[in-house]
């Protein structure tokens, strides 16, 4: 079973997205900020990370840059998620593999995830 780490400071999003992914057969880990994300990555070794850009406390872009710099984690595909339109550019800048604009459609989300977890 593939493992996906969802990082978002919004509890309901964490909850809803987890349910959604679990329903289609993924194992889901959750983290509500950058720090917790690093801990979770070390603990569960996810196959893919869904990373929110704007989080209170830490910037998703910094988290992404750090992960992509670290030889231990740089292979993990990261899909950046944000509520603003420039998400595509931002994702590119910090080395994320893909992006999604909030609010996203389940179909789009699953298509993108499948693309990296085949």
């Amino acid at each position: 079973m593939k493992k996906i780490l969802v990082v978002d400071d919004d509890e309901s999003i964490l909850d809803a997205v987890s349910l959604l992914l679990e329903d289609v057969g993924y194992a889901v880990a959750k983290a509500s900020n950058g720090e917790k994300a690093h801990t979770a990555i070390a603990a569960c070794k996810p196959d893919l990370i869904l990373l929110d850009i704007l989080m209170s406390g830490s910037d998703g872009r910094d988290v992404c840059l750090n992960l992509k710099k670290d030889p231990k984690t740089k292979h993990i595909p990261i899909i950046m998620v944000a509520a603003h339109r420039q998400v595509g550019q931002e994702a590119q800048k910090c080395g994320a593999d893909d992006f999604l604009a909030k609010p996203f459609d389940m179909h789009d989300l699953l298509t993108k995830i499948e693309k990296y977890l085949q």
Binding site: S12, D15, A16, V17, L19, A83, G88, Q89, P103
Partner: protein, 814 residues
């Protein structure tokens, strides 16, 4: 003297009708006659035109050769004398012969008078008044030959002459050794008219010489007139031989008469016993000359007042000057300028001269209507003359006039635009008969005042308007600029200097001076905006940054201007500028707030959507189709909510011109296909088919262009509710790549086609089925395309469907 002010023909002709005189005015520098009256015909048989065209040269050719050099010399000396003293008015008297057109010689007596002097005070024009004295000359000639011709014939001639010829005898001869004063006194006591001709009698108002022969000298001459005493003394001093001297006498009625006399005394044994003489009546000539001079003086005053009126003097100062000049010219004792106050039916003194102390400007009030001279004048609507205040019956006299010892007066209306401004009045202590010229003069001054008052009133309104505008601009913090493009002079209002932090003396402002202040990043944009407005493409309206000269801070300015053209060339731009830095900051805060708000709105929508889709999936799995369908509908509504949030944010940004684009290179067809796939998923009724041409790379905001394609497809789906094919085509040419979206839905009426790109426009179905949405989609789309230098358009037929298309520039391969 005012050049070119020739006396009225009518006045000069008066001289001619009273005494047959030739009056000419000529310019001594050019030798050209500027005036010749009809007397020329009577005296010399020529027409005024002959002289006006021939000038002095022609006139000189008519002078008797024996007289020519003499009068030329006499004239030269006289001018020399007149040029030495500006007070000299009479130049000289000439007697000479001229040839009549019929060939005969006529003796003329001419008086030369200075008519006009040039700026240096030198004589420029001379007026000559000439009379025919042939008869007198012949008489003198005959007198010389008296012995030959005989006394009788001489007497007969003397009787018929038009000139007065006379002989005074002294009842008691006077010793010529006595002092002139004593001799003069003696004359008045003992001289009597022993003999004269009828012409002499007629000059005094009598018919026959018998009527006055025997009268004492004192009966004719005003004894205490210094001019007469001087005349008689001159006669004595000259050795009792005098020509062409004036005397002041009285006629039968007591009227003043002026004569020009030539006389010779007869002396026997050191005693003067008699005097022979001739006299010519110059009363009328003198009167006309005098009135000409007064008229000239009056015209001068009117002209000078006119200059003062235009010089920007205050009305008060002009009134003061006018009263002074009127007093001087009309020799008035009390001058008044009264303003009529219609609401109170009174007149207020605005300027005065000669009144007692208690009469005050802006204080003294005169009743209107029939209770004052001024009030009556207003009602009469014409100048009103008072001969004698004591006998005035037309109106009553009120203070201040009634409290002053005035006798005569004249009042003229100072006309106004709708109602008269007031009245200009002159009053004299002594009895005075105001002449027509006096009244004309006073009315001229009044008219001048009227024009000036009206002009000032208009100026005041303009100044007030300008002042108001200035206040409004100051209060509104608006700076105004004016760019004269031909001279490249940029005129700034004080406010602009303040806005740009520039010291007023620092810049003689040109466009370049202004350009230096503009933030380097904005210079190109400002230049482009100006060029576009000059080309007539758009109004000049731009927001730009300047670096303030004094504190080097960056300030945002908003400016708007308009272009003035002359013969299709832009010559001037005029505009206004305000500092919008604060507004910009507030808007930035608002944008940030909206950004945060939309983000915050999107977060719960995201989770709502996720929950909905989870549920939908779960129901689908357990084949609870109805619930799954309901949740799909819910998801659909959430999508609408999402797009509404996005639209609102976009519109706010578009309105402020602050929609941000992040350009990138992308393949156009690829984007369209991506959107097509996405949109196909939202509908089962429609089939989205493609007919793509060759693709091109474009440099644009991919998301925004995608948003437009999405919008066109969403509309095509929305407005073809029956479900049909939707055809998406792309094609490219040299510069542009285009896409069109064709539906087969309700279509758009021809008259509404242009409106679809406006804000909040929505097309309604004929069956009144309304279509949801804010009506912002196409408005936002058209703005996005416009900002990408592209075009968006629609072709449609009501009931048959629509084709929406747009094109954007292709990235040029360099």
């Amino acid at each position: 003297m005012v050049a070119g002010n020739l006396p009225e023909k009518e006045l000069i002709n008066l001289i001619h009708t009273q005494i047959p005189a030739l009056v000419v005015v000529y310019n001594i520098k050019t030798g050209v006659y500027t005036y010749v009256n009809d007397g020329i015909t009577t005296l010399l048989g020529y027409t005024p035109k002959d002289f006006l065209e021939g000038g002095i040269t022609f006139a000189s050719s008519l002078v008797h050769p024996d007289d020519l050099s003499r009068i030329r010399e006499q004239n030269r000396k006289a001018l020399e004398k007149a040029n030495k003293s500006e007070t000299t008015t009479v130049i000289e008297t000439f007697e000479y012969r001229m040839r009549h057109k019929n060939g005969s010689w006529r003796w003329l007596h001419s008086d030369g008078t200075v008519f006009e002097r040039d700026a240096k005070g030198k004589v420029l024009q001379v007026m000559n008044v000439s009379v025919d004295i042939t008869q007198r000359k012949e008489a003198e000639f005959l007198a010389e030959k008296k012995a030959l011709e005989g006394e009788q014939r001489y007497q007969a001639f003397v009787r018929q002459s038009n000139e007065g010829i006379w002989r005074f005898e002294l009842k008691k001869p006077v010793a010529i050794s006595l002092s002139p004063a004593k001799q003069v006194a003696h004359f008045f006591k003992y001289a009597f008219l022993a003999e004269c001709n009828d012409a002499t009698a007629r000059m005094y108002g009598y018919r026959k010489r018998e009527d006055i022969e025997g009268n004492m000298l004192s009966a004719f001459m005003v004894a205490d007139d210094p001019a007469n005493i001087d005349y008689l003394k001159a006669f004595i001093k000259s050795g009792y031989r005098l020509s062409q001297v004036q005397s002041h006498e009285k006629d039968k009625e007591g009227n003043d008469k002026y004569f020009e006399n030539s006389l010779v005394g007869v002396i026997e044994d050191g005693m003067l016993i008699r005097a022979w003489g001739t006299q010519r009546d110059i009363t009328e000539e003198k009167r006309v000359k005098q009135s000409l001079q007064i008229r000239l003086a009056q015209e001068t005053v009117v002209t000078e007042l006119g200059v003062s009126a235009l010089s920007g003097k205050s009305l008060k100062a002009l009134f003061q000057e006018a009263t002074e000049r009127v007093k001087e010219v009309l020799r008035g004792d009390y001058i008044s300028i009264l303003e009529y106050i219609p609401a109170e039916k009174v007149m207020v003194l605005r300027a005065g001269k000669g009144w007692k102390k208690e009469v005050g400007v802006d204080k003294t009030i005169v009743p209107a209507g029939k209770h004052s001279h001024a009030g009556y004048t207003l009602g009469a609507k014409r100048p009103v003359i008072i001969q004698d205040i004591a006998k005035e019956k037309r109106f009553s006299i009120s203070p201040p006039l009634s409290t002053h010892p005035a006798t005569s007066g004249v009042s003229c209306i100072i006309y106004g635009k709708d109602t008269p401004y007031g009245v200009l009045g002159v009053h004299t202590k002594d009895y005075r008969e105001f002449t027509r010229d006096d009244v004309i003069f006073l009315q001229s001054v009044a008219n001048l005042l009227a024009l000036t008052i009206e002009r000032k009133r208009i100026e005041d309104v303009l100044v007030l308007g300008e002042e108001r505008l200035r206040l409004a601009l100051d209060a509104g913090k608006i700076g105004v600029w004016d760019w004269d493009m031909r001279q490249n002079i940029l005129t700034w209002s004080d406010k602009v200097y303040e806005l740009y932090g520039v010291k007023k003396e620092k810049y003689p402002v040109t466009f370049e001076g202004f350009n230096k202040l503009i933030h380097t990043e904005d210079r190109e944009r400002v230049k482009k905006a100006i060029e576009e407005s000059l080309a007539g493409k758009a109004a000049y309206e731009i927001e730009f940054r300047i670096i303030r000269d004094n504190d080097k801070t960056v300030r945002w300015m908003y400016t708007r201007g308009m272009v003035f053209t002359k013969k299709d060339t832009a010559i001037r731009m005029l505009g206004a500028t305000i500092d919008i830095t604060k507004l910009r900051e507030l808007e930035k805060q608002k944008d940030e707030f909206l950004g945060i708000a939309s983000h915050e709105l999107k977060t719960p929508v995201t989770s709502l959507k996720a929950y909905t889709q989870v549920l939908q999936n779960r129901f689908a799995k357990i084949k609870h189709v109805e619930s799954a369908t309901l949740l799909a509908k819910m998801d659909n509504q959430l999508n609408k909510l999402t797009s509404l949030i996005a639209d609102l944010l976009d519109v706010t940004k578009i309105e402020k011109g602050r929609i941000q684009f992040s350009e990138s290179y992308f393949d156009f067809n690829e984007l369209v296909e991506e959107i097509r796939e996405e949109m196909q998923r939202t509908t089962e009724k429609h089939r989205l088919t493609t007919a793509f041409g060759r693709s091109k790379t474009v440099k644009a905001d991919r998301d925004r262009i995608g948003q437009v394609v999405t919008n066109l497809l969403a509309n095509a789906i929305k407005y073809s509710p029956q479900g049909e094919n939707i055809i998406i085509k792309t094609w490219a040419d040299k510069d542009m790549i285009s896409v069109s979206v064709q539906d087969f839905g309700i279509g758009i009426a021809a008259d509404k086609k242009e409106k679809v790109f406006e804000r909040f426009f929505r097309e309604d179905d004929p069956k009144k089925v309304s279509f949801p949405g804010l009506g912002l989609g196409l408005y936002i789309s058209s703005e996005i395309i416009r900002r990408h230098d592209g075009n968006i358009w629609v072709e449609s037929q009501k009931g048959k469907g629509s084709v929406f298309s747009f094109s954007i520039p292709i990235e040029k391969q360099l």
